[in-house]
Amino acid sequence: MRSLIDILDLSTEELQELIETAEDIIADPEKYAEVCRHKKLATLFFEPSTRTRLSFEAAMYELGGNVLSVSSADSSSAAKGESVADTAKTVSCYADIIAMRHPKEGAAYVAAANASIPVINAGDGGHLHPTQTLADLLTIWLEKGRFTDLTIGLCGDLKFGRTVHSLISAMSRYPGNRFVLISPEELKVPSYVKSVLKEKNIPYEQTSDLMAVIGDLDILYMTRVQRERFFNEEDYLRLKDSYILTPDKMRSARGDLSVMHPLPRVNEISVAIDDDPRACYFKQVKNGKYMRMALILKLLREAGTLKTLPERSRT
């Protein structure tokens, strides 16, 4: 059974196919409005999340499907000690596809290994979050029109920020990209992520000074320092305000910079930037829904649950 655990489970051809489907959905949402009629998505969220769950649910409703939802570990059988494997087997009896978020790393892999329906990893602790990367990729595609020859700055919590790790993995597969990794010393990218860049001879630069590099960037991907990833509150408080993007700082950036953020933000991007045409983070939210729609369609079709899909318009 085909699932999506890691963004690298999808080939670059498949990513392109998802992007084409998403663009077709954007162009003609009506065509897709009934495609998943009588199909059910189970959203199993064992960790707090608003936007990802709502995005999955909105995606399924816009495909004409239904949603079964578990919104916290406290209100589910997990609170009674049920294993992820048993939950996955049980939910497979009710739903056609699962989107799961879980605080433990590798939980989605365990679910996929035990479910008889496709599982989408909607975040497994600080590990992977591939559908956020799908949102990021569609945004880059729509803003830049390419995945190659880009200077991509990633700023903030690069240690625990799973969206950062996934985006680096995904963009490493395209030629000509360069990464600028901007973080305080304590929140640097883990060595295993850097080793991927080294192995592929992809140029990257590490710095703690955003202003020294902001003028070079095509994309600035900001992240939040996440309280829930710290064992120690003191460390969190010390590091949380390391970078705050302000209109003043944006004056040093290029006119065609795209500012991205997986959201939610706390205060790392000033609200005064929201009206700047270079701000793309709310577009990213919308793009996330379209990519989740495209992904649900792809996985249901591969599982044989959906027989036919609308013809994509050829442009």
Partner: protein, 139 residues
């Protein structure tokens, strides 16, 4: 120092000096019913210094563990006093229930019944990663 030759069992020779105790633990050789000899830091023409483990009476140890600890080691299987097989064990692609993931955030540390699986991600540097959370382990 001499150790009697064995009639039935395994001799793990040419172990990298210093690796015998690790292998002893991972193979579960502390079982009181087993007869085991460990020779550490002995002179070797090939390696300079080496470790050797002799296990008397059993031949069915988990060979993957030997390949994980030292793929250059020589495994000699002895039956009725005769050497019947001599081989090296390449680092295995997967290690099942040999190592335990140390990442407190990993699903395998909370769900105790999950098998502990590590996959080889870099053969040259012998780096293994947890199948669930990708935490790195090197032998």
């Amino acid at each position: 120092m001499t150790v009697d030759s064995i009639q039935n069992g395994i001799v793990i020779d040419h172990l990298r000096a210093g690796s015998a105790m690790k292998l002893y633990e991972l193979l579960g050789l502390s079982d009181p019913s087993l007869t085991v000899a460990i020779m550490k830091n002995v002179t070797s023409r090939k390696l300079g210094r080496k470790d050797i483990i002799k296990i008397d009476g059993i031949t069915d140890v988990n060979l993957d563990v030997i390949g994980y600890v030292d793929p250059e080691a020589t495994v000699n299987i002895i039956r009725d006093g005769e050497l019947i097989e001599k081989k090296s064990i390449p680092a295995p692609e997967r290690l099942v229930n040999v190592l335990r993931c140390k990442n407190p955030r990993c699903i395998s540390t909370t769900e105790q019944e999950l098998p502990q699986i590590f996959a080889l991600s870099d053969r040259e540097r012998r780096i293994y990663r947890c199948l669930y959370c990708e935490t790195r382990f090197s032998s």
